[in-house]
């Protein structure tokens, strides 16, 4: 529980929309929590991330190889994260599945990919309606 979580430096190959002033972030686990991560920049924004696979088992990211050229070469692994928006009632938190964050953890590179022609939106509830009604 108390062990210091190691941070991975992540340099965005393209700035995140709305945050053009910084490209340098640190990725670390939320202590004691396997589902969420922090993506923080020193002087800029901080985001909570999750891995869509935890909550959306059929989530798929399709991209052309050319779109990922700056991020990874063939055979390198890319981790898929989604930015989580936490509203006043945390149980109504949503994940942005339309624009996932892809991270090459080995090289410390990341980018927000826009899934142009997918059915995903910027707000997918992480929890089902039953749970959202009872909690928070």
């Amino acid at each position: 529980m108390c062990e210091e979580e190691k941070a991975i430096p992540v340099s965005m190959v393209k700035a995140l929309a709305g945050f053009e002033q910084t490209n340098d972030y640190q990725l670390k686990k939320v202590p004691g929590n396997h589902l969420f991560f922090w993506l923080e920049s020193a002087d800029g924004p901080s985001f909570i991330l999750t891995k869509p696979a935890f909550f959306f088992s059929d989530y798929k990211v399709e991209a052309k190889l050319g779109d990922l050229e700056d991020l990874a070469t063939r055979g390198e692994q890319l981790e898929v994260y989604a930015i989580v928006t936490v509203p006043e009632k945390p149980v109504e938190m949503t994940a942005n599945l339309m624009a996932p964050i892809l991270i090459n953890e080995e090289k410390g590179l990341g980018c927000q990919l826009v899934l142009h022609d997918s059915q995903y939106t910027t707000r997918h509830y992480l929890f089902p309606p039953e749970k959202r009604r009872h909690c928070g």
């Binding site: 929590n33 589902l35 945390p90 339309m98």
Partner: protein, 75 residues
Amino acid sequence: MLILSRKPGESVVIGENITIRILQVKGDSVKIGIEAPRETTVHRQEVYEAIMQENRAAAKVDKDIVSLLPSKIDE
């Protein structure tokens, strides 16, 4: 705003590296093809704005929120 008339198959060149070609006009919809360098991002405007808005909303997160995050999916 510069306004140009183009027919399907014709193009517009912006700067040295960006070409926009009109591919098809069908009813009230125009299909365009865009060639741009990799470092130039191209998005549908409403999509770009939605993502920017959501990024900004997500960045407003309070650091203390972590204590409220579930650590298991089925609680």
